[in-house]
């Protein structure tokens, strides 16, 4: 099913590098801010939107997914160790699925836990569960997208940042039609549905959100598998 050897190597590669530790502050900040707001006695209705959506869904989830999603494959492409994985009689699908699983697991676990905790503080466990569910779906869609990006271009983080900041950040707030193509809105919609709370309102309907997330995931995975099949090594490197 999932190639455990590849998953293990990928996970060790992620955790072994310092870059991952640098991003733990983000989920911690989210929880800390929620706790602070609660401690200061503010109404959840006041701070739920900026903290849960403005920080959690708009910043913490995409940035984490970006660094992790481009790191599971991009790092190996950059330093040339991908050859060792590719020169094996493994179907490329297996490699992509294993790496995607690691990326989704890491992102969903860290950000999901933080979102759950923040939701718990903001309202109820139900809200927390809703946020965690939305985060999991978002992690899936983002990871597939960024995994595909790291095979398609040489600067995947740059393009990912452009997508998150410009497309999802600016445009989808200004042009309502583009919301259908924005992963953040899927997350909000699903969190709203599962969490059943007045604190969040989704802008797209749940079936659309789930369907589009599936499209992003399937599309990203299919593109990544195809690109991996055609992976080329340059000629003389020296």
């Amino acid at each position: 099913m999932i190639n455990m050897t590849i998953a293990r190597i990928t996970a060790r590669g992620l955790f072994g590098r310092r870059r991952f530790l640098l991003l733990l502050p983000l989920p911690v900040l989210l929880v800390a801010l929620a706790a602070l707001a609660q401690a200061l006695g503010a109404e959840p209705a006041d701070w739920a939107e900026p903290v849960l959506l403005g920080l959690g869904v708009a910043v913490v989830l995409p940035v984490m997914a970006l660094i992790v999603g481009t790191g599971v494959l991009g790092a190996e492409i950059d330093d040339g160790t991908l050859v060792h994985i590719l020169a094996k009689p493994l179907p490329r699908r297996e490699i992509i699925v294993a790496k995607l699983t690691v990326a989704v697991a890491v992102t969903a676990a860290t950000v999901g836990a933080a979102m759950f905790a923040a939701g718990l503080v903001a309202g109820s466990a139900r809200l927390g569960a809703g946020l965690a569910a939305g985060t999991a779906v978002g992690a899936l869609a983002y990871s597939a997208l960024f995994l595909a990006l790291s095979l398609v271009t040489r600067r995947p983080v740059l393009l990912g940042l452009l997508y998150v900041l410009i497309w999802e950040g600016l445009l989808s707030n200004m042009l309502t039609g583009t919301r259908v193509l924005s992963v953040q809105h899927y997350v909000i919609a699903i969190a709203d549905r599962v969490g059943d709370t007045p604190l969040l309102t989704g802008a797209v309907s749940v079936p659309v959100a789930a369907g589009m997330a599936a499209v992003f995931t399937a599309g990203g995975v299919a593109l990544a598998i195809d690109r991996l099949r055609s992976f080329t090594l340059a000629g003389e490197t020296s």
């Binding site: 190639n3 050897t5 590849i6 190597i9 060790r12 590669g13 072994g16 330093d79 040339g80 160790t81 050859v83 060792h84 994985i85 590719l86 020169a87 094996k88 009689p89 493994l90 179907p91 490329r92 099949r229 055609s230 992976f231 080329t232 090594l233 000629g235 003389e236 490197t237 020296s238």
Partner: protein
């Protein structure tokens, strides 16, 4: 696909690869069979490109590259019988040597990964260092552990891109011995190099590549002899060039003499006879030879002879 009766054959047919205007590999046709083959050529000759095409990491722009009858591009099943040791040294730094070879064995879905890994590590004499992380290895150790990982599934075909980079002479001898043993056992081994001395010790065939083209194939000693049978070119400066030229033209070993402002350019057929005859001729004519330079001693000019043929 019916299995080819000789799955260890690599066939290239009219293979070319270009990047825009640059032709890296130019119409190469060769067949590699069991035994050790050395791929020789100066830097930039297209050896790595050729190896990557054979290993399925680069599609040919034209022509075919087949392993055991199947094309190598977009065909992961060839890795069941193919092992590749690429030029780039990179290995997952955080793994120990043992873990790296074991992972390789597991990814090949071998029935007994630990046993295969142990055997491969013993083959490259890395049993002492296998417990340490790879980022503590020296360059030669890293090479050897990569060879172990490539050998773990006992591939019929082994491709090595400049495998002796960074190895000391003892390690090089050992590696060469290992490759020969594999070749004698019926495996197809191809390694590339631009150092003549490494290829000299190859007992098998040599493929010479220059500027993307296959310039010579066959037994190394035969090629050497073919090269030595070509005219050798010498540049001579003396006290009386024209007189010397006239005298040299009378020698049997001399194929041609050109008189120029910088001295004489003499083409000699037989290297040994000419170098013995020259001092005698000079002495007889009373000409003092100031400078005698063979103009074609560098590897480059040797190769360009092969291309011009």
């Amino acid at each position: 696909m019916t299995a080819d009766p000789r799955p260890s054959t690599v066939e290239l047919t009219n293979t070319s690869r270009w990047y825009g205007n640059v032709v890296a590999v130019n119409d190469v046709t060769m067949t590699l069979g069991p035994g050790v083959t050395g791929l020789l050529g100066p830097n930039g000759a297209g050896k790595s490109t050729l190896l990557h095409m054979m290993a399925g990491f680069l599609p040919p722009s034209r022509g075919q590259v087949r392993l055991g009858g199947e094309p190598t591009w977009r065909n992961p099943s060839i890795y069941r019988v193919l092992g590749l040791v690429s030029e780039r040294e990179a290995v997952h730094q955080f793994l120990t040597g043992w873990e790296f070879v074991l992972a390789s064995a597991r990814l090949h879905r071998l029935r007994d990964p630990e046993g295969a890994a142990r055997r491969a590590i013993a083959l490259v004499e890395m049993a002492d260092g296998q417990g340490r992380r790879i980022d503590t290895y020296s360059k030669g150790m890293r090479q050897r552990i990569r060879v172990a990982a490539a050998l773990v599934h006992d591939p019929r075909v082994l491709l090595l891109d400049e495998p002796f980079n960074g190895m000391d002479p003892r390690q090089r001898l050992h590696m060469m011995d290992l490759l020969h043993r594999l070749g004698d056992a019926g495996h197809t081994v191809l390694f590339s190099s631009h150092i003549l001395e490494e290829v000299e010790q190859v007992s098998g065939t040599v493929q010479v590549m220059v500027a993307g083209r296959l310039a010579a194939s066959g037994d190394y000693r035969t090629i050497r002899r073919l090269m030595t049978n070509r005219p050798h070119v010498f540049a001579i400066q003396s006290t009386d060039d024209r007189r010397l030229a006239v005298a040299l033209m009378g020698q049997e070993s001399v194929a041609g003499v050109e008189v120029g402002p910088g001295g004489l350019t003499v083409r000699a057929g037989d290297y040994g006879t000419f170098t013995r005859a020259l001092p005698k001729v000079a002495l007889r004519e009373g000409v003092r030879v100031r400078r005698l330079l063979p103009s074609d001693e560098s590897l480059e000019s040797v190769f360009s002879y092969l291309v011009a043929s």
